[in-house]
Symmetry: C2
Subunit: 220 residues, 2 copies
DNA sequence: CGCAACCTGACACCCGCCTGTCATGCCCGT
DNA sequence: ACGGGCATGACAGGCGGGTGTCAGGTTGCG
């Protein structure tokens, strides 16, 4: 899962980035509205964290533009506490959730998870396929009840596939969502990690669609 | 906790050693009866695993000699399955427990734990002092209910002190029981690890007895 | 007061795991 | 059967945590 943070206060921004990377996300950080607008329009994010108090371009304007461009990426807005007007304006502009500053990183991460879950159409914090279960809360995976140890990247890849169960996911899409901006596109890491996941969870779990990508389906 | 394995079949011996080191013991391995006899007589072990089917000197003879020397180290004997005569003879010679070959490593470790626990006069698998609990089964430690992360060596040291709660334990004794044979005696690691444990569990837990060693007491 | 015992922060090494790269081999579709 | 796409084993660099060493400071005893 890949995120964008748009936050002009560098300390807070970096701190957030660290926390979210620690939670297993790939994170890009934009330090002003313009950069944020550009990245949000041109890159693929699974969610965006947007601070409203930006210099240059106002956060609301940024959000508004994205929506007008047809971007439906879920957006979580950071507002000053009790700033009711922001909240209302944000709602109108198409924000999906709010967190008031100052906030607990814990809470923000929980809401993010919920946001991404909702946007991928899943109701539960558990993603499953066959006898495989992935708990997005604890970050743990089991197969037939037995815990399976996955590394960070393996987890991200599996998690993305589960969030898009049944759909075909291209290698580029996976790279876009698992890594942040600067990553060598012509690398075969995705293939390597697919192999590693198959080795741990069984080869049948991920099917290859030649020329298109991979797909994780409910076994028949 | 330091163990001696006396086992002539090299594969099995090494395998056992690995398993037991994995379980957090310091392990010496003797591959014949003579070496076993010598080590068992001259080193400090918390328990000995003795295979009866030894070349040169018979296992029973070894055990018998130790007992005659007044060694009370608990001994766990490995016997061929259903070899009832071995069992009886072993009992007479002063063995403390039996495991029939082939055995589950799991079971052997469980019996070892029980053996060591009994020999140190503790009834339970939990060692405690004040609000600190150490579960020898799971290898986990808590302080006031909160889990505390200890490294392998920290755990061994704490565990040894808890097994001898209230007694003064010298630095050499600690080295003897925590490390295996070849270890630099004039090193200050013990001091270092005492410091580290104090930092994690509170300075009051281990008291220094100047010139003699350390002692872990029930707080008053 | 002076010495020895002990404490403790900093450091460097080592080791295991993770991760991306590469070379090679396989397999499928044409 | 051939070519491109994919699979996979092996490998090296990096990173982080654990461990032992050391130096300098502190403490307590005679």
């Amino acid at each position: 899962m890949r995120l964008l943070i748009v936050e002009d206060e560098p300390n807070l921004g970096q701190q957030l980035k660290n926390a979210l990377e620690g939670a297993g996300y790939a994170v890009d950080l934009a330090t002003d509205g313009e950069e944020g607008l550009y990245l949000g329009s041109n890159e693929q994010y699974d969610a965006i964290i947007l601070d409203l108090g930006l210099p240059e371009i106002d956060g609301l304007t940024v959000l508004d533009r994205w929506r007008k461009e047809g971007k439906s990426t879920p957006v979580l807005v950071l507002t000053a506490r009790d700033s009711w007007s922001d909240k209302v304006a944000g709602l109108d502009a198409g924000a999906d959730d709010y967190v008031a500053k100052p906030f607990q990183t814990e809470e923000l991460i929980a809401r993010l998870r919920a946001l991404i879950r909702r946007s991928s159409g899943n109701a539960s914090a558990e993603l499953t396929a066959g006898d495989i279960r992935l708990d997005t809360r604890s970050g743990k995976v089991t197969k037939a009840g037995e815990p399976v140890k996955l590394t960070a990247q393996e987890y991200k890849l599996l998690s993305y596939l589960l969030h898009h169960k049944g759909k075909v996911v291209s290698r580029t899409e996976l790279i876009d969502h698992i890594y942040d901006q600067d990553f060598d596109r012509d690398s075969n890491t995705i293939e390597v990690f697919v192999t590693r996941i198959r080795k741990k969870l069984g080869a049948e779990i991920i099917t290859t669609i030649r020329g298109l990508g991979y797909s994780l389906d409910e076994p028949s």
